[in-house]
């Protein structure tokens, strides 16, 4: 045998070194993405430069680029560099940039993350942005400790989407969403699934902290209060019992189908592929779902406990918000851009309802005629539910963003019978409490 110990060790070292080098090589293209576009610094020849980061889809990227171009045309002394991204990696990158003191000046923000940044002083005070024309209930969600750090970029609300073709196949009418209860949703889901011969009646419930939030509010509680957790084990257990009941009634699919469905991207989800009749989504996704399904999709209100839509305590959700870095060198320029986005038809005329329905009522009135048919439906829906809206939920405190993952994980244990609903609820609440940093 030609290989002796020394040769072996040298060989091992060589391969290890090669592996390391390859690892480094692989890292390079990914990491180079962010650093170059850091404008940050102030005036070269009186010019102000801003970096603007957002996550999105091809349509949103196109709109945002167009808005940036439009803004720079109107404000020749400002240079904006765009940093588009994709939702899941966006947060890794933003956290790393912030840690390195390199956060973009203008940041597209999400409700689940705003307090992580806001309570730690990473976000600029935006009280100078004019929100006086905003529809009631659309400003407060961007406040952390009474300070405005996120400006609503578009109104959203939780809805149940329905695939009318599946209902036709089952020879059923769409349910009356003004009177339906949670239990009736199970009945409808079970009936339509069995009559139409599809595996899933209602999809995407397992990880919906939003619907769970609606459920909790109807029980007279909140997900979060300024003091921490706003609900008890009892409400969580009631929710898990509801999920179990739906699984047993064959309304939500088998546990395996439920977990599988939860990991799917929108384009492959049950309502798009026609394997499901109903599905939880946010209202601004109607257009994307309709496009992916290539057919008309209907939008329904989430159910209520009392069977009365006016008592369902809905709310306007910020589909996303605009924040600015506390460390920006050009705070006034950043605020000016956010102000422009929020309050001018120039910006809204380009972005339309891509980021949700514009919260500024006057701006909405000026641009609504340009909306696509689906966006018109959403705008009308947002208007229609005005009387069903309760108080605005506060942003989840730091650590609260984990609620969806925890709700889903312990819920999975419950529907697989690995835990009772009482145990699952207890563990969910205990773990969430320990995650909260209030």
């Amino acid at each position: 045998m030609a290989l002796n110990r020394r040769q072996f060790l040298i060989g091992a070292g060589g391969i290890a070194a090669a592996a390391t080098t390859m690892g480094l090589g692989a890292c390079a293209p990914g990491s180079s993405g962010g650093s170059g576009s850091q404008g940050g610094g102030g005036g070269e020849g009186g010019k102000t430069s801003l970096a603007l980061a957002w996550w999105g889809n091809p349509t949103r990227n196109k709109n945002t680029d167009a808005m940036i171009a439009e803004y720079m045309k109107a404000n020749p002394n400002v240079t904006i560099t765009g940093q588009p991204g994709e939702f899941s990696s966006y947060w890794d990158k933003l956290a790393t940039q912030t840690a390195g003191g390199q956060a973009p000046d203008i940041i597209q923000m999400d409700m689940n993350y705003i307090s992580e940044y806001g309570t730690r002083g990473a976000l600029l005070d935006l009280s100078k942005v004019d929100t006086s024309k905003f529809v009631e209930g659309t400003v407060d969600s961007g406040k952390i400790n009474d300070k405005l750090v996120g400006v609503n970029a578009g109104i959203n609300t939780a809805v149940i989407l329905a695939n009318p073709k599946v209902f036709e196949k089952a020879k059923m009418d769409l349910p009356d969403d003004k009177t339906w209860t949670w239990d009736q949703m199970i009945d409808v889901g079970a009936e339509v699934a069995s009559k139409a011969g599809v595996p899933i009646g209602v999809a995407q419930l397992i990880n919906s902290d939003t619907l769970f939030g609606a459920f909790v509010r109807q029980h007279g509680k909140e997900l979060f209060t300024p003091n921490g957790l706003g609900f008890d084990v009892a409400e969580a257990q009631a929710w898990y019992d509801f999920l179990l009941k739906g699984v047993k009634a064959k309304a939500f699919g088998t546990p395996e189908q439920i977990t599988e469905e939860a990991a799917k991207i929108l384009d492959q989800s049950a309502i798009v592929t026609g394997r499901g009749a109903l599905q939880y989504q946010n209202s601004n996704q109607l257009l994307a779902v309709s496009n992916a399904a290539g057919q008309k999709i209907e939008m329904l209100r989430p159910p209520s406990l009392a069977g009365k839509a006016t008592e369902r305590k809905g709310w306007y959700k910020a589909s996303m918000l605009w924040s600015a870095s506390a460390k920006t060198k050009n705070p006034d320029a950043a605020i000016a851009w956010i102000n422009w986005f929020a309050n001018t038809p120039d910006a809204a005329g380009i972005d339309l309802a891509e980021r949700g329905i514009p919260p500024n009522a006057e701006v909405l009135a000026q641009v609504q005629s340009k909306f696509s048919p689906e966006q018109q439906v959403v705008a009308k829906f947002i208007q229609d539910i005005k009387t069903e809206v309760g108080n605005t939920p506060i942003a989840p405190p730091p650590g609260g963003g984990t609620i969806a993952e925890l709700l889903s994980r312990h819920g999975t244990d419950v529907i697989y019978g690995r835990a009772t609903s009482a145990d699952g609820a207890q563990k969910f609440v205990t773990e969430l409490k320990s995650n909260l940093q209030v």
Partner: protein, 318 residues
């Protein structure tokens, strides 16, 4: 070093006079300088890209660090918290099952295929490439996505089972009982790199040993046990060490198959995935750094154990 020394004007003979000694020392220091200069690019890379961040992460592991605010010193708190962190224990369990099931299986498959390919068949380069292909693709995101679709309720695997009349309704990736095993299977499937190394090792075993054994009437099995295995043992050891280290660091497959959640119900929550979640999802980079250091210790321990036991079964030719 030796190539540079040959340029030296000083003779190799032992230095005797103080003058010669001084010259020799100067010479040596020049040699050293040149050596370090050649080392420099690698050294800078090591210090700046590897060592620096490693030391920084060691410091961070003793702090409460949210990424957004400056770290604050909390001593050993992160480490003591791990003792009572049930999800951490679960992540350890999942990772250990993964490492100690998939590594031996993968090496066994790699060895068997290498033995078959070593028989000198027609079209060997073609087969070698075909068997190597999965390991080029296996850690890619595309394959993990494909894997997810193959093992769904109505995925390819169940469709094939149904062709044979088996009423397969299990979701292999959706059921917490099975999800980890689909990822283990994916790992075993990527046996290409150890296979190529085995193949190279097999090629180095002189054919005359087998000829002699055949003349003495040794069976194929006896030849495999008495000739192939001992002579291949350094290669097996090498593969074992590398693959265990690799397996402990598995991330991509679990991340993609479970959409970054480690689900269903934490059944594919690998150590590295949990570390990532703690650091980037829950903003607990201090805890994540502590976890990374515990992983370093675990991997070092297993590598040391491997080297310790190697003296009992690894046979070096000389």
């Amino acid at each position: 070093m030796s190539a540079i020394s040959e340029l030296s004007t000083v003779r190799r003979a032992k230095a005797t006079t103080p003058e010669e000694k001084r010259l020799r020392a100067k010479e040596a220091s020049r040699d050293n300088k040149a050596g370090y200069l050649f080392l420099l690019p690698w050294l800078i890379g090591l210090v700046v890209i590897t060592l620096g961040p490693m030391l920084a992460s060691l410091y961070l592991s003793f702090t409460n660090y949210s990424l957004i605010q400056a770290p604050s010193w909390i001593g050993l708190d992160n480490y003591t918290r791990m003792l009572s962190d049930e999800r951490f224990h679960n992540a350890l369990k999942v990772t250990f099952i993964y490492v100690f099931v998939s590594t031996p299986l993968q090496l066994a498959v790699a060895l068997v295929i290498a033995l078959l390919l070593n028989e000198g068949m027609k079209g060997l380069p073609f087969y070698r490439s075909v068997f190597y292909l999965p390991s080029m693709l296996g850690s890619s995101v595309a394959i993990a996505v494909l894997w997810r679709q193959m093992f769904e309720v109505d995925g390819l695997v169940n469709q094939v089972l149904r062709l044979f009349g088996i009423p397969a309704t299990t979701s292999w990736i959706g059921d917490p009982q099975w999800a980890l095993w689909t990822i283990i299977l994916l790992h075993v499937w990527t046996f290409g790199s150890p296979m190529v190394i085995f193949l190279a090792g097999l090629r180095q075993i002189p054919g005359m040993y087998y000829e002699a054994a055949s003349v003495d009437g040794a069976s194929r099995w006896a030849q495999f046990r008495k000739i192939t295995l001992p002579l291949l043992s350094p290669i097996i050891f090498f593969n074992l060490v590398l693959q265990i280290i690799n397996a402990f660091q598995a991330f991509t497959q679990a991340f993609v198959v479970s959409n970054g959640t480690g689900g269903p119900a934490d059944s594919t929550m690998f150590y590295t995935l949990y570390l990532y979640q703690r650091g980037f999802v829950q903003f607990q980079m201090g805890y994540a750094a502590a976890m990374a250091w515990v992983l370093v210790v675990i991997i070092a321990a297993f590598t040391a154990i491997n080297f310790f036991f190697s003296r009992y079964w690894v046979f070096y030719g000389d």
